[in-house]
């Protein structure tokens, strides 16, 4: 398993993580080691094995479609880094 600097840049962007050069070097080496270890799974024949999505059998959980009390605007916005009235405020998305 080899991981290139391009792979790291691509994945970091997908993950919305700004990494510095030192972190990129470190993660390249560490991810290579961890993924090589993970490849031991290829020793197992899993043809026809159904993948697990949940550990216990779960079916869709429905509830009645009735309104119940919610947090309310002020509580929902109480941890916002920046707000404007009843809204979260962010930098302009479209110039």
């Amino acid at each position: 398993m080899s991981i290139s600097r391009n792979d790291i840049d691509h994945v970091a962007r997908l993950a919305r993580l700004a990494l510095n050069d030192e972190e990129k070097d470190l993660f390249t080496a560490q991810m290579e080691a961890i993924l090589s270890y993970a490849e031991t799974l290829n020793e197992l024949n899993t043809d026809g094995v159904i993948p697990t999505s949940h550990a216990v059998p779960l079916s869709n959980a429905f509830r009645p479609d009735t309104a119940t009390p919610s947090l309310g605007i002020d509580l929902a916005l109480s941890n916002a880094p920046d707000r404007s009235g009843s809204y979260f405020q962010v930098p302009p998305v479209i110039e």
């Binding site: 994945v11 799974l41 993948p51 880094p81 962010v90």
Partner: protein, 485 residues
């Protein structure tokens, strides 16, 4: 014995009989925290004033004749649980100033009974770690030897019990994060079956694996606290709507005729001698108690850690996408635009292990690699589950070490993530299978560090493992040993 040394069930009797007030008890705990916290660092946030107010309220409630099992009992929670009006950080800079707007269900059930919250406990950031060293608030130290780690990720929850800074605590367990620290700190920790306890209001790490559980001084306390937090919650769509049994009835002390499996893959060469000795003694003890010990095999055990680190990181990368600097949490100063706001806020807010796991998980889910890593791991997970199902056709429960070694030293494994991951080798398979397990004290190493024993049960088999754990505990002295602090 000081007040802070007693068990929950003993203190409940004292409170109920009005031989003790919650005010006195809470003050004793607050004094203890003040005295030992400089050495331990188990708490991220302390709620001193609120605790004393809650204690007074509990005393009024008791005076009116209403004393529930947790009324007036001082407890503390891993900082992963939402606690309304109280700072909740998950040990991350990204949530440094986050005030929870609502309560986690597990906590609200304890609160309804009148439990007194002493504060929020240290952990690995976002529950990612096995040593409590990945905290933005500094490492917690093991009360048995402060040069050692307490285990993780619920290291603060275990250390607070061992240092007698709280009567009971809650932790969460995704790959061993309740059981491994319980083992390293000489306390009792139970990971319930997936779906047994609501995760509403618990900050998510890996949603197909995370579970909430009690950490206590002894098995009786463990059963008692599990009783309070277990049960269906419509706010958690993965919680299971099956009746909660009366766990106290399992504490009979009798294991005659019980079939206990010994999975050969867990008794490997290279097991620490102290762990090996504790296991040998535990096996002999169960035999003396009348249990039948049966060799079994869980052939895919060796693949569990690799399987786990693909699934858990993939789920984490998705769950942690919510920390974007927009609705809550840290936001970078003066970003040039929205993309930079997100990328920089996350870069500044997350620690190294969290970044590493987000990167791994994003990679494992990314186009072209999904089948090779994530899907493959989900298939191997099925094989691991099938191992357990087959074993439980022969036996009632399994006995294993909780961890391959006693607590290691602070800094010993921080430079090699893979070595750190392998310290969860005996706990991870249980999470992958979604079943329940308990760790309880079973020995002390030559260096004076606790060794834990793990008992693994069938899905919703909490009664069986509590029954066996109680019988073992009552026939040994390990639960009376205390860290000299």
């Amino acid at each position: 014995m000081e007040l802070f040394d007693y068990t929950l069930h003993h203190l409940h009797q004292l409170l109920k009989n009005r031989q003790l007030s919650s005010r006195e008890l809470t003050s004793a705990l607050l004094g203890r925290i003040e005295a030992v916290e400089p050495q331990i660092n188990a708490f991220i946030t302390r709620t001193v004033d609120q605790a004393l107010q809650d204690a007074d309220q509990a005393d009024q409630r008791i005076a009116s004749g209403d004393c529930q099992p947790l009324t007036g009992i001082p407890v503390a929670l891993k900082d992963i649980f939402m606690t309304k009006g109280v700072r909740t950080t998950c040990a991350s800079r990204i949530l440094d100033n986050f005030i929870a707007p609502y309560d986690a269900t597990a906590w609200s059930r304890m609160k309804e009974q009148g439990a007194v919250l002493l504060g929020k406990l240290n952990q690995d950031e976002f529950a990612m770690g096995s040593s409590c060293e990945n905290s933005a608030f500094g490492p917690t130290r093991n009360p048995w030897n402060t040069a050692c780690i307490p285990g993780g990720s619920s290291g603060g929850s275990a250390a607070a019990i061992a240092a007698r800074q709280a009567i009971a605590t809650l932790g969460t367990d995704t790959g061993g994060s309740i059981r491994q620290p319980a083992s390293h700190c000489g306390c009792v920790g139970l990971k319930p079956t997936y779906g047994r306890v609501s995760r509403y209001g618990v900050i998510a790490y890996a949603s197909s694996l995370d579970q909430v559980g009690p950490m206590t001084r002894d098995v009786t306390d463990c059963a008692l606290l599990l009783q309070v937090i277990a049960g269906y919650d419509p706010k958690d769509s993965t919680s299971v709507d099956t009746a909660v049994p009366d766990y106290s009835t399992a504490l009979t002390g009798d294991v005659k005729g019980m079939k206990i499996g010994l999975p050969k893959e867990y008794f490997i060469d290279g097991l620490d001698p102290a762990v090996q000795q504790a296991m040998d003694q535990a096996i002999a003890r169960f035999r003396d108690l009348g249990a039948e010990l049966v060799p079994v095999s869980l052939p895919h055990t060796g693949y569990a850690v690799a399987c786990y680190y693909l699934i858990a990181t993939a789920e984490a990368s998705s769950n942690l996408a919510r920390y974007d600097g927009i609705r809550f949490g840290h936001r970078t100063q003066n970003p040039s635009g929205l993309m930079e706001l997100m990328m920089q806020s996350r870069a500044e807010g997350f620690g190294a292990e969290v970044k590493r796991r987000i990167m791994l998980g994003t990679y494992a889910l990314s186009s072209g690699y999904y089948d090779a890593y994530y899907l493959k791991a989900q298939k191997v997970r099925s094989l691991i589950q099938q191992d357990f199902s087959a074993a439980f056709k022969q036996v009632d429960l399994l006995l294993t070490p909780t961890a391959p070694t006693p607590a290691f030293r602070i800094g010993e494994k921080t430079s090699d993530p893979l070595q750190m991951y392998l310290s969860d080798i005996f706990t991870i398979p249980v999470n992958l299978a979604g079943i329940c397990a308990i760790s309880l004290p079973a020995g002390i190493s030559g260096d004076g560090l606790p060794v834990g024993l793990q008992l693994v049960g069938r899905p919703f088999g909490e009664e069986t493992i509590l029954q066996a754990a109680y019988a073992f505990e009552q026939s040994t002295e390990w639960h009376h040993k205390k860290a000299a602090l």
